[in-house]
């Protein structure tokens, strides 16, 4: 850690979260006392925030919050747990363990695959939390630092075809994740009954610092031409550069992020800046240098401007990059050429270069649950019982049954069909649509997302059919609040929740996820959204160039001005 006073530090009264991190005794707080408190199902004071650093959010069933207030009952407090699963890889044994827990110990009974390439349990009551962590630990999973002001779950492109390259990239994702993890033993002590070791050594956290990061920090490893992880939604991205099918190094992209605040123009989504190429050997040093620079220079006064993207804009990309080079002892080389061609998953069977087969199945909203007509959860569990490879969760909330030997294909496929994991006709539009969790569990949600998506897509399919566009689709994303877990700020048609039944409609992103869509209409109803889209899709059908995507069309046709430099032009009309 550098002790010299930097001109890039924001002076002022620190945000309250800074106090709570500082006073948390390296993330312990008084969580253990809260676990013993029978009077409430929630966590109190600072612990409410501190459990996030352990991978949990306190939530409640918002559908019944008002009812319970009348019943003189507190909200139905529970936690959502987000596992740490670098690259989204999970074994069949692990799957069976989480399947059982979800069914028996959670209020919603589901496994939720998320845009962070991991799974979430929703609705875990306080008395079950400890046994949940112990169950995960037993199968080799934890939830350390999947939320809070730390480096979160590291994503890695789900590319089952180029098996060897994927394996190498995935190994780096794991290494980066481990390298940037908090070193405090708080998690083990609180949840796993680990021995309490008195330590006077400071800092406990050489990379994150004992006050941790100013804000959340997201990292990916991406293998072009796929951009399934959405690099521009992340603070730090390692773009895999291969020679002859072997990973040789990374282009480093820094400072992406989609979160903003309604009505606050000092906040905006921002694409990541390209710092240049580094060889593999510098990977961990560069990762640490980016994190520590953001740690020291990030804004700890105003949390709304605390993410890396704002630090870059404030100190200048070149200054930030120079500091990283200094701290990591590297010089960024000129970026190697690469190209993103798409973000979607490759559904169905593909054969990898290692001769193994991989089946990608579509999971609407990533919600794995037994529905009346499709027993997705039972299906996954039945497959896990016979599967010899592994499962991979994609950043698009879908599931890959990976590494299937040719002789096992038929059995797996039969189970997948039996349980509706392979459904006869899912439209391209449905495959290209995504939503965050939102109501009823997410406390931040301003409007529905997951529960609105299926119907919204059906309406959209109707509009496409009406205009003869059945085979076409638009990247359609719904996010319940401007924090943007649904990554609507990298879609062609994006809805950002504003209030119950009301959204801001954004248009003009591209299919590859390299252009931020601009707000086209503010605070409009679901009916108004579909009415607007009806007109625009009709126009697209008639006037588009050959193969022209909807997002490109609306920009060319002048429906919206493209966002080019979001820090300056995002709020232009």
């Amino acid at each position: 850690m550098s002790n010299e006073k930097s001109p890039f530090i924001v002076e002022g009264k620190l945000a309250d979260n800074e106090r709570l991190k500082r006073e948390s005794n390296n993330l312990r707080g008084t969580i253990e006392a809260d676990l013993k408190d029978q009077l409430t199902g929630g966590f109190t004071a600072d612990n409410f925030q501190l459990i996030r650093f352990h991978g949990m959010y306190q939530q409640d069933d918002r559908d019944i919050r008002a009812d319970r207030a009348k019943q003189k009952l507190e909200p139905l407090h529970n936690v959502m747990l987000r596992a740490r699963l670098p690259g989204g890889v999970i074994t069949p044994d692990q799957w069976l363990a989480i399947d059982k827990f979800a069914a028996e110990q959670t209020l919603y009974g589901s496994i939720r695959l998320t845009t962070r390439q991991t799974f979430q349990f929703h609705g875990v009551l306080k008395p079950k939390i400890k046994s949940m962590h112990q169950m995960l630990n037993k199968v080799g999973i934890d939830s350390i630092a999947t939320a809070g002001d730390v480096n979160r779950n590291v994503l890695c492109t789900s590319n089952p075809v180029e098996s060897e390259l994927h394996l190498q990239a995935f190994e780096w994702a794991k290494k980066i994740s481990e390298h940037l993890l908090p070193k405090t033993r708080a998690y083990a002590e609180i949840w796993l009954d680990g021995e309490k070791v008195e330590t006077t050594e400071k800092p406990v956290e050489p990379i994150l610092g004992d006050n941790y990061l100013p804000r959340k920090f997201k990292t990916t490893v991406v293998i072009p031409p796929q951009n399934d992880v959405d690099v521009h939604a992340n603070d730090l991205n390692f773009v895999a550069i291969a020679e002859n099918g072997q990973l040789v190094g990374f282009n480093v992209l820094v400072g992406g992020g989609l979160a903003m605040t309604h009505g606050d123009k000092s906040t905006y989504p921002r694409k990541a800046s390209d710092f240049g190429f580094i060889p593999l050997t510098s990977t961990l040093d560069v990762a640490a240098a980016v994190v520590t620079t953001q740690r020291d220079w990030g804004n700890r006064v105003n949390r709304k401007n605390a993410k890396t993207k704002y630090t870059l804009e404030r100190v200048g990309v070149e200054n930030f990059k120079a500091e990283v080079e200094k701290r990591a002892g590297v010089t960024f080389q000129e970026s190697r050429p690469y190209e993103f061609t798409g973000r979607g998953d490759r559904f169905g069977w593909v054969e990898g270069i290692d001769g193994k087969y991989h089946l990608t199945v579509f999971i609407e909203n990533g919600r794995i649950l037994d529905y009346p007509n499709k027993t997705l959860k039972t299906g996954c569990a039945e497959i896990a019982k016979i599967h010899k490879g592994d499962f991979r969760l994609t950043a698009n909330q879908n599931l890959i049954i990976a590494g299937v030997a040719p002789e096992d294909k038929a059995a797996i496929e039969s189970l997948a069909r039996e349980h509706g994991l392979i459904a006869p006709a899912i439209s391209n539009q449905r495959l290209d649509s995504m939503a965050c969790v939102a109501l009823p569990t997410c406390p931040l949600a301003m409007a529905e997302a997951e529960r609105y998506l299926p119907d919204a897509v059906t309406e959209l399919e109707g509009l496409l059919a009406k205009h003869g566009l059945e085979q076409d689709s638009v990247i359609f994303r719904v996010t319940g609040c401007p924090n943007g877990c649904g990554r609507a700020m990298l879609s062609e048609v994006g809805l950002v929740g504003k209030g119950p039944g009301k959204y801001n409609l954004h248009l003009g992103g591209d299919r590859e996820g390299t252009r931020i869509p601009r707000m086209y209409r503010e605070n409009i109803s679901e009916q108004e959204i579909m009415a607007e889209l009806d007109v625009l899709l009709g126009q697209w059908a008639k006037e588009r160039n050959a193969g022209e995507a909807f997002g490109d069309f609306v920009v060319r046709a002048g429906v919206v001005k493209p966002v080019i430099d979001s820090a300056r032009d995002f709020y232009d009309a």
Binding site: Q38, G41, K72, L76, P127
Partner: protein, 607 residues
């Protein structure tokens, strides 16, 4: 309690207002000689209690040992026995007999030998159990130390509920035991069912009449009220069971969660302009109407016309009105079976009546309509009315303090509502309160005093409250009262129910009291949240050391709720705690608990 003070005001330094009222009531109408005698009598009693009373006064005329006195003993849980006992005294007084009214809890069993006339009024609970204040005397009479009575005459009136197996058992015991040790019965014992008023009144008249010969020869009559046990409350309410207040429902809110198997309501009733007062610990009597659907179904099953005129308690009314407002339909009782069988000639019912145990089991699970469904028959409207017993109000422990809610009264009501024998069943009063009574609808209520369930008079005294399920109700009143008093004494609540998320009654209120420091401890037992079932008695045992420490610091210990299981389990836990943490033998631990009860530091409101 506020009362009109139109003439003399209480000599506050010596007596409280209630005592003063009791005394003025007692001496009203006495002539000059009688008043003089009373003053001497009171002085004599003071001397007997010890202390420095001047010998001059001690020598004042005291009643002769063999002068006949009617000693009226009551053992009462809900106040009914006490109420009749007070009536008895009023009648004795009117007849000019010397009498005294004493709670069995305050009566020294050794004194029995010296009594000339004893009238016993005692209720029965649960499985033939004596009420708390009668336990000691009841045991004493049945034990080896029971005296031989040479010159004592007695009469017993028992109170009970004939739907229970051991109907009026405690009354029967007193009758038998007093007779066995030589007492002579004055009049035959009366076993009162829930609709006792008319019978009890007739019996009292008979008793007073039977005492005439013994008492008319006696000298100066006297009425005594034992020190500190005023006949308070009995006459203090303007509105009574017979003359209830027409109140209005303000709010009925389900307070169990969406997924609860229980339907428990928080009920708020307005007492505006009634002048009704109550204290934490009191119960609210609620008159209810039977559900219209139930009445019409019963009429249909028996092919009776609701407009038929019938006579109920000497009043002519329509059958539908009688079934709705005057007669008990949601319980079953032996008299109905008997009368219904006689009227219909049902052979299946006759067969069932052969085996008492079988009949009891059958009745325990059924309401009137089930019996009619199972054993169809025909009878006249008047026969049906005569077979049914009068509707009685239900008592609910009050869940509020007037210090907090002023002219409101709150209840915590479990809505009895279940499927059985292929039909929906509801509790009479709870169905009325929870489903049929609409907001701003009228409900007839009265306050039933319960001096056996009172907060400590000293606000610094700690209290331990054990109230699982709807047993929580009076403790909500207690906490509101202690909050308003600014009471410094520590408070510890034990609560239990099936599930934390669904059944934590008044959760946010307890959270508030914990936060503001009023509620020092709250210990919870959610029985169905884990494999093994955990109940309040388990939590008591777990916290045994501290519970005992509180008791040693003078804490009062309260239990409210289920009498059948919970209250017994809690009492056993209490004995175990005293044994373990007080280093006592089982017998000594039991004696410790008995002492707690006698000192009114262990009080129960169980049902």
């Amino acid at each position: 309690m506020s009362q009109d003070s139109n003439s003399n005001s209480a000599p506050g330094a010596v007596l409280n207002e209630q005592q003063w009222n009791a005394i003025t009531q007692a001496i009203a109408g006495l002539n000059r000689d009688q008043l003089t005698w009373v003053s001497g009598y009171a002085a004599g009693m003071a001397a007997a209690q010890g202390g420095a009373i001047a010998p001059v006064i001690q020598s004042a005329t005291a009643p002769a040992g063999d002068a006949p006195t009617l000693t009226i003993l009551y053992g009462s849980q809900t106040g009914n026995a006490k109420g009749i006992a007070a009536q008895c005294q009023a009648k004795a007084e009117a007849a000019g007999y010397s009498s005294k009214l004493v709670s069995m809890a305050d009566y020294k069993p050794r004194n029995l030998k010296g009594e000339t006339h004893v009238a016993v009024f005692v209720s029965t609970h649960g499985e033939g159990d004596a009420p708390d204040d009668a336990i000691e005397l009841h045991e004493f009479l049945g034990g080896k130390k029971a005296p031989k009575l040479a010159n004592t005459k007695y009469a017993v009136l028992g109170l009970g509920d004939s739907s229970y197996e051991f109907f009026c058992q405690t009354g029967k015991d007193f009758d038998e035991r007093l007779g066995k040790i030589g007492g002579k019965s004055i009049v035959e014992r009366l076993d009162c069912d829930v609709d006792y008023e008319a019978e009890a009144e007739a019996w009292l008249a008979k008793l007073i009449e039977a005492l005439k010969d013994d008492f008319s020869a006696a000298q100066a009559p006297a009425v005594a009220v034992q020190a500190g046990v005023a006949v308070q409350g009995v006459a203090s309410q303007t509105y009574t069971k017979k003359a209830p207040f027409k109140a209005v429902l303000i709010d009925s809110q389900k307070i169990t969660g969406r997924d609860s198997v229980k339907d428990i309501r928080h009920i708020e009733i307005s007492l505006e302009d009634s002048g009704i007062t109550y204290q934490p610990g009191d119960a609210l009597g609620v008159w209810f109407k039977n559900a219209a659907t139930l009445v019409s179904e019963l009429l249909g099953l028996l092919s009776l016309d609701g407009d038929t005129e019938v006579i109920v308690a000497d009043t002519t009314t329509t059958l539908v009105e009688a079934l709705t407002s005057k007669l008990e339909l949601t319980l079953s009782y032996p008299n109905f079976i008997k009368s219904y069988q006689a009227a219909t000639g049902s052979e299946s019912l006759a067969a069932l009546m052969e085996d008492k145990a079988q009949l009891r089991t059958y009745m325990a699970e059924r309401q009137i309509i089930d019996i009619v469904r199972d054993h169809p028959g025909t009878l006249s409207a008047q026969q049906l009315v005569d077979a049914l017993r009068p509707l009685t109000p239900r008592l609910y422990s009050i869940a509020s303090s007037q210090a907090e809610v002023e002219e409101e009264v709150h209840l915590t009501v479990a809505h009895v509502d279940y499927e059985a024998f292929g039909h929906r069943h509801q509790g009479g009063a709870s169905g009325f309160l929870c489903e049929y009574l609409e907001e701003n609808g009228e409900v007839e209520v009265f306050v039933e005093n319960n001096d056996n369930f009172r907060l400590p008079t000293d606000p610094n005294t700690p209290v331990i409250m054990v109230g699982p399920g709807t047993g929580i109700a009076p403790f909500r009143a207690f906490m509101q009262e202690r909050d308003a008093q600014g009471a410094e004494g520590k408070n510890w609540l034990f609560f239990g129910n099936p599930h934390f998320t669904q059944d934590f009654l008044y959760q946010v209120e307890w959270q508030g009291y914990v936060k503001e420091g009023l509620l020092d401890k709250i210990t919870l037992a959610f029985s169905r949240d884990q494999e093994e079932k955990i109940y309040v008695q388990h939590r008591l045992l777990e916290n045994g050391k501290e519970v005992y420490e509180w008791l040693e610091q003078g804490a009062h210990f309260y239990v409210c709720g289920d009498a059948m299981h919970m209250a017994k389990d809690v009492e056993n836990a209490l004995i175990t705690i005293v044994q373990e943490h007080g280093g006592k033998s089982e017998a000594d631990a039991k004696a410790y608990v008995v002492e707690l009860r006698k000192a009114k530091r262990y009080q129960k409101d169980v049902y």
